[in-house]
Symmetry: C2
Subunit: 349 residues, 2 copies
């Protein structure tokens, strides 16, 4: 069972129920049922329209968290809302994961409140972006939740990002890089150098590659790029801004003369295919990592297809060994960082 905030996002039920339809159409999703939280009439109408009565169960609530509500307010007043109930179903063990396209700050706050952090070094759940590159998809995290990160948190991100990439993007033994201003060992600030030292000693069987730079993200040099939420958020938005800038000046160029317009018309089908690959945010469905439970954020403006992909991410995580693997590695990290060094073994000479 997957739990959905039926009202979250800019479009509500047409997209959330449409997302179920798209998910089933594209990924099969055999045997999976959906718990839809929100306005009963609106959801029922969409479920009927899509012919999904067999796989959807509606849990009625009129309460919705507004897109501009502050996290603290959402925590105080959000109980019984479609988002709250969607997450509570995960807490109660009724659902294997939850998806919401609602207010990100509220989703993080309520998820943390109800599910608690499993990665105890983290202040808030980490957000992972699935970034299209010349070499497949690279997972970049944290892209906005934890704005300062010490070495332990960066290693938490490596552990979670690795398991996420394997579960959702199907890699075996994903490679991991720490984002830095250069690739040499002595580059960067203390936090990244310490995290690199922990991963180099490599007690978790992770495939640690080393430091990577900003341009390595789009190259796809590694499968997982680890960074603090401040740098990650700025890198992601800078890339989105750059992509939009180039789209705009390309549009300008291709309408700058009759000849260019004719060329653009001929190349249009190819350019359209390309467009989908441009936007670093185009692969929808960013899980909140580090919680005792699976919660996936769908982009507020996503369409049904995008929401369907967020459902796919949730199902892939729930069906994989993600939770067990992360749990075991976080425990190993904790032992490395916080245990007394082992007593020296006395040897008889």
């Amino acid at each position: 069972m997957i739990s959905l905030d039926g009202m979250g996002g800019d479009h509500g039920p047409p997209v959330t129920v449409g997302g179920v339809r798209e998910y089933l159409k594209q990924h099969g999703g055999e045997g999976i049922r959906f718990l839809l939280h929100g306005d009963e009439a609106a959801l029922a109408a969409e479920v009927k329209k899509a012919g999904l009565g067999d796989v959807c169960e509606i849990r009625a609530t009129d309460k919705v968290i507004a897109m501009d509500e502050k996290p603290a307010q959402a925590m105080r007043r959000g109980k019984g809302s479609s988002m709250w109930n969607a997450i509570e179903a995960v807490k109660d063990g009724e659902a294997a994961g939850a998806v919401s396209g609602g207010n990100t700050g509220a989703l993080m706050a309520i998820s943390k409140l109800l599910l608690r952090m499993s990665a105890t070094g983290l202040e808030r759940p980490a957000i992972v972006a699935s970034w299209p590159t010349l070499n497949g998809i690279t997972a970049v995290l944290d892209v906005g939740a934890n704005i300062t990160s010490d070495a332990e948190q960066l290693v938490d991100f490596a552990i979670m990002g690795e398991a996420f990439h394997a579960a959702v993007h199907g890699s075996t033994n994903p490679s991991i890089g720490i984002l830095n201003v250069g690739s040499e060992d002595m580059k960067g600030h203390e936090e990244v150098r310490e995290a690199a030292a922990i991963l180099r000693d490599n007690p978790f069987g992770l495939n640690y590659h080393g430091f990577v730079e900003g341009d390595d993200i789009a190259k796809g040099t590694v499968d997982v790029v680890v960074t603090d939420g401040f740098t990650g958020n700025i890198a992601l938005k800078t890339a989105e801004g750059t992509a939009r800038f180039i789209s705009q000046i390309m549009r300008d160029a291709l309408t700058s003369s009759l000849q260019a317009k004719a060329g653009a018309l001929l190349a249009l089908p190819a350019l359209k295919q390309m467009r989908a690959r441009i936007d670093p945010g185009s692969i929808n469905g960013g899980p909140l990592l580090g919680l005792n439970g699976i919660v996936v954020k769908s982009h507020g403006g996503a369409d049904a297809r995008g929401f369907g992909n967020a459902i796919r991410v949730t199902v892939d995580l729930a069906r994989s060994d993600y939770t067990a693997k992360v749990g075991a590695n976080l425990k190993r990290l904790d032992a490395v960082l916080h245990s007394a060094p082992p007593e020296p073994v006395e040897t008889v000479s």
Copy 2:
């Protein structure tokens, strides 16, 4: 007089002397003379070929700092090299500024050693990138030198970036934003919030806009984007990587079918014009800010035209009120941060 490291960069004299030719051709540069440091025979041959004997003076040295030399090594062993001598001419008051396409780390170390920092809060000179946006050029700094920056350093960057943008990109009253993960006052870490508070109180007559996000850079929301060298370097390289990624998949798309190829052929002149605008590094010439003297870094791989633009940046800075304006504002900042609060004025009621 402008002092040039004649040997710096991937191509040496053909580009450095060619840069003088391009600069004079495009910008006039009336009355300016050039001091060329490096291999006498190679430089003389290029000067003769370009017919620049009247405006160029050669200072012979065989010593060159290698592109992969470590900064500490360059400081110890670099005396008498073409780079060293180029900067020394600024120190001695013989030249109004220096340009080098050589090893960035060495250039920063030697510049700091010979010229000393004027912005005393900075550990190293700041590097500024001139970033093409939908709204002209935005100056982003620091993009790599100071990997951790406290509030004072961020305000230093604001002061220097503002004067740089006015001098080199011709703006009046450039607007300034601090790069952050959101635009609200309480967003971000302590350093950006403190810097924002100083600039909001605004003792320097700067046009402070507020926080900006990563996608605001390419939008051109402000003229100057202030950030620490770690984040700035990663933002710049991420944008460069994104631009290259899009160029690559565009190339793939436009060669994916006969029809697309025909379209591309027609649109080619327009697309070529566009290409020059894509790369955030395309505007060559990044000054090292915060020194007692003007030193401009040219990209190692720049061609003669690019080197010519680095010369233009140097001349524009030298001819402007940049140095006086920055000096006055740094003094005002120092007074704000480090002086005792003024005694309350007694009023007679």
